[in-house]
């Protein structure tokens, strides 16, 4: 069908999108790599020249980097774990015949539309505040000492907030997948005497695998870049207890004006994300074969 003429036309039509994205990738990324080998501090113009691997050694040797790396993995892993397991269970529940399904869906999906800084502030001030937060009242009701969440469990607090935001997404996608499972298939399995657990493992889970892959892929893209939730709650602290790679680069590059070291951190973040991406894209490439 594709004649030489349509092929040319097609190239012309694709050109703007491809060029724009190519420039958007290549230019800043090249600059980041270039800066990462330079001594470059906005506050100290005396610092110039080639830095070799200095910035990388400085960044990687810095204990805060190791901590940020671990935090990034804990944050992504923790939220994925909560949202996938919670989302599957919730989707199974919402798939049952229940009253008010329409309203229930609206209530459950709502947190997904709350912008990240608002989500974080609601939790910080309305729920987790040790003085007048809801949880503090709850703790007091049971005669317990209120917990200062962001100081005692900073990373866990952020994981809870982010998981709250992403659980609806996982639930919605998994519920949609679940509802596309044909009724006959389930009934046939039931007839054959498969119990609920067997039906779950051998019929429902294989059917959901694709949806779960998609949820993991999309969430990972966004979770690697968690920023606002940290910015408005703990500011990365106490110390570096809740700093992830994104926040570390922001702190080094933009707040401390150390362009060289910040860029080195950025390059490391890109490399790590790409390692994750290779695995994910493979899975998705297989799954999306239309």
């Amino acid at each position: 069908m594709a004649t030489a003429q349509t092929r040319t036309l097609s190239r012309i039509m694709m050109a703007p999108a491809v060029l724009v994205l190519l420039v958007w990738m290549a230019v800043p990324l090249t600059m980041t790599i270039w800066f990462s080998f330079q001594n470059y501090n906005l506050l100290n113009p005396m610092m110039t020249g080639f830095a070799g691997w200095g910035n990388y050694l400085y960044v990687i040797g810095d204990p805060s980097f190791t901590q940020a790396l671990i935090n990034t993995l804990l944050l992504v892993g923790g939220v994925l774990l909560i949202t996938i397991i919670g989302g599957t269970l919730l989707a199974l529940l919402l798939d049952q015949p229940i009253w008010g399904q329409g309203i229930l869906r609206i209530l459950v999906i709502s947190p997904f539309f709350v912008m990240p800084p608002v989500a974080a502030l609601i939790w910080k001030n309305g729920f987790m505040h040790p003085g007048y937060g809801m949880l503090a009242h709850l703790w007091e009701f049971f005669g317990l000492e209120p917990v200062d969440w962001f100081n005692q469990y900073p990373l866990l607090s952020i994981i809870v907030i982010v998981a709250w935001q992403w659980l609806p997404f996982a639930t919605l996608i998994l519920l949609t997948a679940l509802q596309s499972l044909s009724e006959e298939q389930r009934e046939a399995a039931e007839m054959d005497g498969a119990n609920a657990i067997n039906r779950f493992w051998y019929i429902i889970m294989p059917h959901m695998a694709r949806a779960i892959t998609i949820v993991i892929l999309i969430q990972t893209i966004f979770l690697l870049g968690i920023f606002a939730e940290i910015r408005v709650t703990t500011g990365g602290g106490p110390g570096y207890a809740s700093t992830n790679l994104t926040f570390l680069v922001f702190r080094t590059g933009i707040l401390s004006n150390d362009i060289g070291a910040g860029s080195a951190g950025g390059v490391v973040a890109v490399i790590l994300a790409n390692i994750v991406a290779i695995f994910l894209m493979r899975a998705v490439g297989k799954n999306l074969d239309a």
Binding site: A2, S10, M13, M14, P16, A17, L21, M25, P28, L29, M31, F35, L93, Q96, P97, I98, W99, G100, I106, L107, V108, I109, S110, P111, F113, V114, M115, P116, P117, L121, I122, K124, N125, G126, F127, G131, Y132, W164, L167, I173, T176, R186, E190, A196, A211, I218, G225, F227, A228, T246, F250, G253, I254, G266, A269, A273, N274, A277, G285, L288
Partner: protein, 276 residues
Amino acid sequence: MARSASTPTKIGYTALAWAIALLLFSPILWTILTAFKTEAEAIATRPTFFPETFTLENFAAVQQRSDYVKHATNSVIVSLGSTLLGLIIAIPAAWAMAFAPTKRTKDVLMWMLSTKMMPAVGVLIPIYLIFRDLRLLDTVHGLTIIMTLINLPIIVWMLYTYFKEIPVDILEAARMDGAELWNEITHVLVPMAVPGIASTVLLNVILAWNEAFWTITLTSGRAGTLTAFISSFSSPQGLFLAKLSAASLLAIAPILLLGWFSQKQLVRGLTFGAVK
């Protein structure tokens, strides 16, 4: 599997589902209620559920404190502007990929998606410096450009999956009937593509509205969107709970409503049609 469940079972499931749903919704519900309380009531040691004295003064205070209307306007301009710009670039591309695919179309698509994999911090510093030199820092059009770029892969992908479902036979039939290319586009393709484009617009407005990383790092007072505006409430003076709730409610209400009305389209859009 339990389509014909007995009534007690149904009551049990319903109760459990409502309990969980309300629990998940409670932070939002709490924010809505607190927004109408007086500051004293909001932080009272004996918390109230419904506002005892219903007040709108928090909303007025929010506007006074840092000009909500200006930030909301910025949010609207950036969301709509970036979506429109994205569509202009993406529609031809998605069109070509769906209707005149070559061997490399799929590679190009995967490559575009992979650009979303690049963490924003990887390019933050150069973008910050380029924006500084071009005087684009803290400007609405600068932010619109960034928003277009970060959402472009998603727009292309969404449009592609929607366009692909338009049967090529119909196009060919139209061509056979002697329709000119222009007529083919305006009379056959566009009407069939409109629902897909509408869903794409919806999802991208939501994504752009809620984008926080770039709005916080590239703007301060002037071009700040609502995500930047609300982040400024993290400072100690922002601890006025009732006012914070009012500001939060104002910031999320438009998108919350939009999201409620469009959940069905969202699933398709968010998963590029891979989950139906």
